[in-house]
C-alpha cells in the first residue's frame, strides 16, 4: 500500500529508512506472514507452489488423453481410477471427457502455469530484488493479484466436480460451440465456470501487471537506469505492458459470450438451428469472437515466452561467465517482439474466410517477428562462444530453451505463411509447433529460473544430480513427444480428435502415436524427480551462501534471509550494468552492480 519513493534518495544511511517500516517490526501472525502476505517474496512463492500444483494436474490430464490417443479402446485402470465410472467406464476415456481434458489442459498450462505461474513467480521475486526496491509499489494489490489467481485456479479445477463436466470446446472456446448448451455437455455449466475462472484470472493479471509496470518505472534504486536493468526486468516490463493492453480485450470477449449464453443476445450467434429448433438470434458473427480472442491470444504467447527468454538471458550470461551478447539488441528485440505481437493475431484465422488481402498483411507482420527472434537466438549462441560454461541445472534448462525456441520458431515460419497454413491448419503440425516454441520453451525457462533462484527463494539448494537427471529426461522426452507430431500433421491428422480410428488413412500412423505417448510417460515420470527435489530441498537441501552463482545482480546482495524490505540497511546504489562478467583487468570474473566504476572504466559493455 505504501507508495514510499525510496527510489532515488535512500542512500543516506539505514536509520532514516527504518522509519518507513515501523509497521513491519512486530511479530507477524502465521496468516499475515504465509497466507495473506503482502511481501513480494512470499507472494512469489505462493505463485510458484500454486503453479507447480496446477502444472501437475495439467500433466496428469495430458497423460490421460495421451493414453487414449496411443491405445484407443484399451482398458486402463488408471483412467477409471482417476475419472471414475462416469467418464472412464471400464477404463476407456469418454469422448466428451477427452475434449474436456484437452481444453482444461490447454487453459491451465497457458494461463495458470505459464502466465500466472511464470510471471507471477518471477516478476514478483525479481522485480523488487533486481531493481533495488524494498517491495512492490503496492503490496496490497499484489496480494489481491495472488488471491484472484488462486480463486481462478480453484474454479477451473472445481469444474471437474459438476455433473456435466468442465468446458470442452478447446482452450479457445470458440462460439457458437461454447455458447450453446445444446451443442455439447461441456458448454453447459462447465463453460460458465470457465468464464468465471477466466474473469478472476484477468483481474489477477491486471492487478499484477499494473503493479509490475509501476514498480519498474518508479522504484528503481539510485543509479539503476533503464539501460542498466537486467534483461529479466526488461522482459517482465514488456510482458506486463502486453498483459495490461490485451487482457481487457479477452474480458470483453468473455463478457459478450456470457451475454450470448445467458441473456439471449446475438453478438456471436446468427442463423443457428440446433437441438431441433431454430434459434432467434441473428446478425451476430462468430468471427468477431475470434478477432477479440486472438487480439489477446497472440500477445498471450509472448506474455508466456518473453519472461522465459528474460530468465534465460540472465542465466546464460551468469553461467557462461560472459556478458550477454548484444545487450541493447536484446532490449530492442524484446520491444520489437512486444510491439509486433499486437498486429499479427489474424494469422490464427487464415481459413475463416477472411479477406485474402488482410491475410497477406498478417503474413507480412507475422514473418517480421522472425527477425528479432533470430537476433535473440544468435545472441544466445554467441554468448556461449568462448565462455567458461558452468553447467548448473538452471544453465542446462536455459540451453534447452534456446534449442526448442529455435526449432519451434522455425516451423512457425511455415504456419505464418497463409498459403502453407491452408493444408496444415489445425493439424498436429500446429500442435507440435506451439508446444515446442512456447510450451516446452517456456516450461524449460521456468524450470531454469526455479533451479537458478531457488537459493534466493528458499535459502537452500536443490539437489544437483537430481537436477541433471531431471533436465535430460525432460528435454529428451519433450523432443520425443513433439518432434514426431510434425509428421502426424503432414499426414493430415487433425488436432482434438478423440480417436483416429474412424479414418483408414490414419491407420498406419498408430505407431507414431504410441512412440509419442511413451515419451510423454517418460517425461511425466521425470517430473516426479523434480517434485521430490523441489519439496525435499525446501526443508533438507544444503544451505546456500549469499551469492552462490557469483552473479552481478542486486538480489544476491541481500542477506540469505527473507527479511522485510529486502536490504537491512540502506538500499544499494548501482554503478554499472549487470553483465560485467570476466571483464579484463578485474581480479574476479564478476563485478557486482554495486561496485563503483574504476578510474577510466567504461560502463555497459560500451566501446573501449
Amino acid at each position: 500500500m505504501s507508495m514510499e519513493n525510496h527510489g532515488h534518495h535512500d542512500s543516506h544511511g539505514s536509520h532514516e529508512h527504518h522509519g518507513h517500516h515501523d509497521e513491519h517490526h512486530h511479530e507477524e501472525s502465521f496468516v499475515s506472514k504465509y497466507i495473506f502476505s503482502m511481501d513480494h517474496k512470499t507472494i512469489s512463492r505462493q505463485f510458484l507452489i500454486t503453479a507447480v500444483i496446477m502444472a501437475t494436474f495439467a500433466m496428469i490430464m495430458s497423460m490421460l488423453f495421451r493414453l487414449q490417443l496411443a491405445w484407443p479402446n484399451e482398458h486402463f485402470g488408471f483412467i477409471n481410477w482417476i475419472l471414475g465410472d462416469k467418464w472412464g467406464k471400464d477404463g476407456i476415456l469418454e469422448p466428451g471427457m477427452y475434449m474436456a481434458l484437452v481444453t482444461i489442459h490447454g487453459t491451465v498450462m497457458v494461463f495458470m502455469v505459464l502466465t500466472g505461474g511464470l510471471s507471477g513467480t518471477f516478476s514478483n521475486l525479481l522485480i523488487p530484488y533486481q531493481i533495488g526496491a524494498r517491495d512492490m509499489a503496492s503490496g496490497f494489490l499484489n496480494m489481491l493479484s495472488y488471491w484472484f489467481f488462486f480463486l481462478s485456479s480453484a474454479i477451473m479445477m472445481a469444474s471437474f466436480f459438476i455433473e456435466t463436466g468442465p468446458a470442452s470446446g478447446g482452450w479457445t472456446v470458440y462460439p457458437p460451440l461454447s455458447a450453446l448448451p445444446q451443442a455439447m455437455d461441456g458448454s453447459k455449466l462447465g463453460m460458465t465456470f470457465w468464464l468465471l475462472s477466466m474473469t478472476a484470472f484477468i483481474v489477477s493479471s491486471l492487478l499484477g501487471g499494473l503493479n509490475y509496470i509501476i514498480t519498474i518505472i518508479n522504484l528503481r534504486t539510485k543509479g539503476m537506469s533503464m539501460t542498466r536493468l537486467p534483461l529479466t526486468i526488461w522482459a517482465f516490463f514488456v510482458t506486463a505492458i502486453l498483459g495490461v493492453l490485451s487482457f481487457p480485450v479477452l474480458l470483453s470477449a468473455a463478457l459478450l459470450l456470457i451475454f450470448d449464453r445467458s441473456f439471449g443476445t446475438s453478438f456471436y450467434l446468427s442463423d443457428i438451428y440446433i437441438g431441433g429448433q431454430a434459434l432467434e438470434q441473428t446478425g451476430g458473427s462468430p468471427i468477431l469472437y475470434q478477432h477479440l480472442f486472438w487480439f489477446l491470444g497472440h500477445p498471450e504467447v509472448y506474455i508466456i515466452i518473453l519472461p522465459a527468454l528474460g530468465l534465460t538471458s540472465e542465466i546464460i550470461s551468469v553461467n557462461a561467465r560472459k556478458p550477454i551478447f548484444g545487450y541493447r539488441a536484446m532490449i530492442g528485440s524484446i520491444m520489437a517482439i512486444g510491439f509486433l505481437s499486437f498486429i499479427v493475431w489474424g494469422h490464427h484465422m487464415f481459413i475463416t474466410g477472411m479477406n485474402p488481402f488482410l491475410g497477406s498483411v498478417f503474413v507480412f507482420t507475422t514473418l517480421l517477428i522472425a527477425i528479432p527472434s533470430a537476433v535473440k537466438a544468435f545472441n544466445y549462441i554467441t554468448t556461449l562462444w568462448k565462455g567458461n560454461i558452468r553447467f548448473t541445472p538452471g544453465m542446462l534448462f536455459a540451453i534447452g530453451l534456446v534449442s526448442t525456441f529455435i526449432s519451434g520458431g522455425l516451423t512457425g515460419i511455415i504456419l505464418a505463411d497463409s498459403a502453407l497454413d491452408i493444408p496444415i491448419h489445425d493439424t498436429y503440425f500446429v500442435v507440435a509447433h506451439f508446444h515446442i516454441v512456447m510450451g516446452v520453451s517456456a516450461i524449460l525457462g521456468m524450470l531454469a529460473g526455479v533451479y537458478h533462484w531457488y537459493p534466493k527463494m528458499f535459502l537452500r539448494h536443490m539437489n544437483k544430480k537430481l537436477g541433471y537427471v531431471h533436465f535430460w529426461l525432460t528435454f529428451i522426452s519433450a523432443y520425443g513427444v513433439f518432434f514426431p507430431m510434425h509428421f502426424l500433421g503432414l499426414a493430415g491428422v487433425p488436432r482434438r480428435y478423440y480417436s483416429n480410428t474412424a479414418f483408414p488413412m490414419f491407420d498406419n500412423l498408430v505407431d507414431i502415436n504410441v512412440l509419442i505417448t511413451c515419451f510423454a510417460i517418460l517425461g511425466g515420470l521425470a517430473q516426479i524427480i523434480f517434485l521430490f527435489n523441489f519439496f525435499y530441498s525446501m526443508f533438507r537441501g544444503p544451505k546456500s551462501v549469499q551469492n552462490p552463482w557469483h552473479s552481478n545482480t542486486l538480489e544476491w546482495t541481500t542477506p540469505m534471509a527473507n527479511t522485510h524490505g529486502n536490504w537491512p540497511g540502506a538500499l544499494p546504489v548501482v554503478h554499472r550494468w549487470p553483465y560485467d562478467y570476466s571483464k579484463p583487468g578485474k581480479d574476479e570474473d564478476y563485478v557486482p552492480q554495486t561496485v563503483p566504476l574504476a578510474e577510466g572504466e567504461v560502463d555497459g559493455g560500451g566501446h573501449h
Binding site: 469422448p95 478447446g170 457458437p176 460451440l177 451443442a183 450467434l269 442463423d271 443457428i272 440446433i274 462468430p286 468471427i287 557462461a320 561467465r321 556478458p323 550477454i324 551478447f325 545487450y327 541493447r328 481459413i351 475463416t352 474466410g353 497477406s360 503474413v363 522472425a370 533470430a374 537476433v375 544468435f378 549462441i381 568462448k386 567458461n388 560454461i389 558452468r390 553447467f391 526449432s407 497463409s418 498459403a419 491452408i422 493444408p423 491448419h425 539448494h461 539437489n463 544437483k464 529428451i476 514426431p484 503432414l490 493430415g492 487433425p494 482434438r496 480428435y497 478423440y498 474412424a502 479414418f503 483408414p504 498406419n508 498408430v510 525435499y536 533438507r540 544444503p542 570476466s582 559493455g605
Partner: protein, 385 residues
C-alpha cells in the same frame, strides 16, 4: 488392494530416493565438498552429454524422416496443391539448413567451452558487424519467403472461374451434405428457419434457381480437371471443411457463406494406381488386418477440422474424383430435391436426419437421401436470404 500396494510402492520409492540424496550429501560434506557446487568434472560430463545429445537428436530426426516420411500425404491432387507442395519444400529447405546450423553451433559451443577451473571467458559484449549480419540476412531470406508466400496465396484465393462448377457443402453436427447446383449452376435460396426433419438444408421451394438442386449426403462427386467452387454453410457450430489430399481447407461458419475453389487433377482410380499410394495402402491394410478390420481402398476424404462436439472425430465424407462421363452417369441416378410430385422415389431410404444435439456415431454409412415435400408447412415464416 493393488492400488494400495502401488501407493505404498510410490511412497517407499520417494523415501528411498530421499535417503539416497541425504547419504550423498552427507558423504560429500564429509569429504569437505559442498554437494551443490558445480565441479569441473560436472562441466566436462555435461559438455560431453550436450555433444552426444545433438548427434543422437540428428539421428532421431533422420530416423523419423526415413520411417515416417513415406507415410505423409501423397502427391497433391489439385492444381494449386502442387504449387503449395513446391513452396513447402522450398521453405523447408531453408528451415532445415538453419535448424542444423544453429543446433550444431549451440551444442558444439556448449561442449567446447565447458567450464575449466583455471580458465576465463572472453569479454565480448557486442559487435555491431555481427549483429548487422544476423539481422540483415534473416530479413532478406524472410523477404523471399514472404514474396513467394503471398504470391501463392493470392493465386489460391483469387476469384473462381465463372465457369467452375458450384457445389454447396453443408455442415452440421456431425455430417456433411452436398448440394449440386443443377443445370443452371446456381444454388437456390435457403433459410435456416425452413429447416425441418425432411428439409435438412432449409431450402426454399419457391426459389427459381433451387428447383434443379440435387442433395446428396456423405458422398461428394467432383470431375477431374474441372474447377469446382464450394460454398460452405453451417447449421449449428463452426466446422472446417478439410480436404487434405487437395491441400484445401475452409471454415464453415453459421450465419455466413464461405467459399473455396480448386481443380482436382487426379481421379480416385488413378490415385489408387500410384506406387506411393499402393505402398501406403499396403501398410494401412497390414495394420487393419492385425486389428481384425476389413481391408480398405484408397479414398479421398473430406473431414471436419474444427472442434465441433463430441463426435467431431468422426465427421467425414468420401470424395470421389471421376471423369466427366462417370460423373454424368452418376448424377443421372439422382433426382432434384424438389422433384415434381414432391415424394421420394419409393426405393429410397428416407432417414429422419434431424437428431439435434444427440451424438450419432454411425453417421458415416448413410446413403444419399433425397427428400421431397420440403418447406411447404413453413411458407408463412419464410424470410428471404
Amino acid at each position: 488392494m493393488i492400488k494400495f500396494l502401488v501407493y505404498v510402492a510410490i511412497i517407499l520409492t520417494v523415501l528411498a530416493v530421499g535417503y539416497l540424496v541425504r547419504v550423498f550429501e552427507l558423504a560429500s560434506s564429509l569429504k569437505g565438498k559442498r554437494s551443490e557446487e558445480i565441479t569441473e568434472k560436472d562441466n566436462r560430463l555435461m559438455g560431453r552429454i550436450m555433444l552426444t545429445f545433438v548427434v543422437v537428436f540428428f539421428l532421431f530426426v533422420i530416423w523419423q524422416l526415413k520411417n515416417y516420411g513415406w507415410r505423409m500425404l501423397p502427391e497433391a491432387a489439385s492444381v494449386h496443391g502442387k504449387e503449395l507442395d513446391w513452396l513447402f519444400n522450398f521453405n523447408m529447405g531453408i528451415l532445415w539448413f538453419v535448424f542444423v546450423l544453429t543446433h550444431i553451433l549451440l551444442f558444439y559451443f556448449a561442449y567446447k567451452y565447458y567450464g575449466r577451473k583455471d580458465n576465463r571467458a572472453t569479454y565480448f559484449p557486442h559487435d555491431n558487424r555481427l549483429e548487422m549480419i544476423w539481422t540483415v540476412i534473416p530479413a532478406i531470406v524472410l523477404a523471399v519467403i514472404v514474396i513467394y508466400g503471398i504470391k501463392t496465396w493470392n493465386h489460391i484465393t483469387d476469384v473462381a472461374d465463372p465457369k467452375s462448377q458450384v457445389i454447396e457443402l453443408y455442415a452440421k453436427q456431425f455430417d456433411w451434405t452436398a448440394r449440386y447446383a443443377g443445370t443452371d449452376n446456381t444454388l437456390g435460396a435457403s433459410n435456416y428457419k425452413l429447416i425441418t426433419s425432411t428439409n435438412d438444408l432449409g431450402m426454399d421451394s419457391t426459389s427459381s434457381t433451387g428447383s434443379d438442386d440435387i442433395v446428396v449426403k456423405n458422398e461428394l462427386h467432383i470431375v477431374v480437371n474441372k474447377e469446382v467452387e464450394f460454398k460452405f454453410r453451417s447449421r449449428d457450430v463452426i466446422h472446417s471443411a478439410y480436404f487434405p489430399h487437395f491441400r484445401a481447407q475452409m471454415n464453415c461458419v453459421p450465419g455466413m457463406t464461405t467459399m473455396l475453389h480448386f481443380t482436382p487433377t487426379i481421379t480416385t482410380a488413378e490415385m489408387r494406381q500410384k506406387p506411393e499410394v499402393i505402398a501406403q495402402m499396403a501398410g494401412i491394410n497390414a495394420v487393419r488386418k492385425a486389428r481384425g478390420d476389413k481391408p480398405e481402398e484408397f479414398n479421398y476424404i473430406l473431414l471436419c477440422n474444427k472442434i465441433c462436439g463430441n463426435s467431431h472425430y468422426n465427421m467425414q465424407m468420401t470424395v470421389i474424383v471421376e471423369t466427366q462421363a462417370e460423373y454424368d452417369k452418376w448424377l443421372a441416378t439422382k433426382k432434384p430435391f424438389f422433384d415434381k410430385g414432391g415424394a421420394s422415389a419409393p426405393s429410397e431410404k428416407s432417414a429422419a436426419s434431424d437428431k439435434g444435439a444427440s451424438e450419432t456415431k454411425d453417421d458415416m454409412a448413410r446413403d444419399s437421401i433425397k427428400l421431397g415435400n420440403g418447406g411447404k408447412e413453413e411458407m408463412e415464416s419464410r424470410k428471404n436470404n
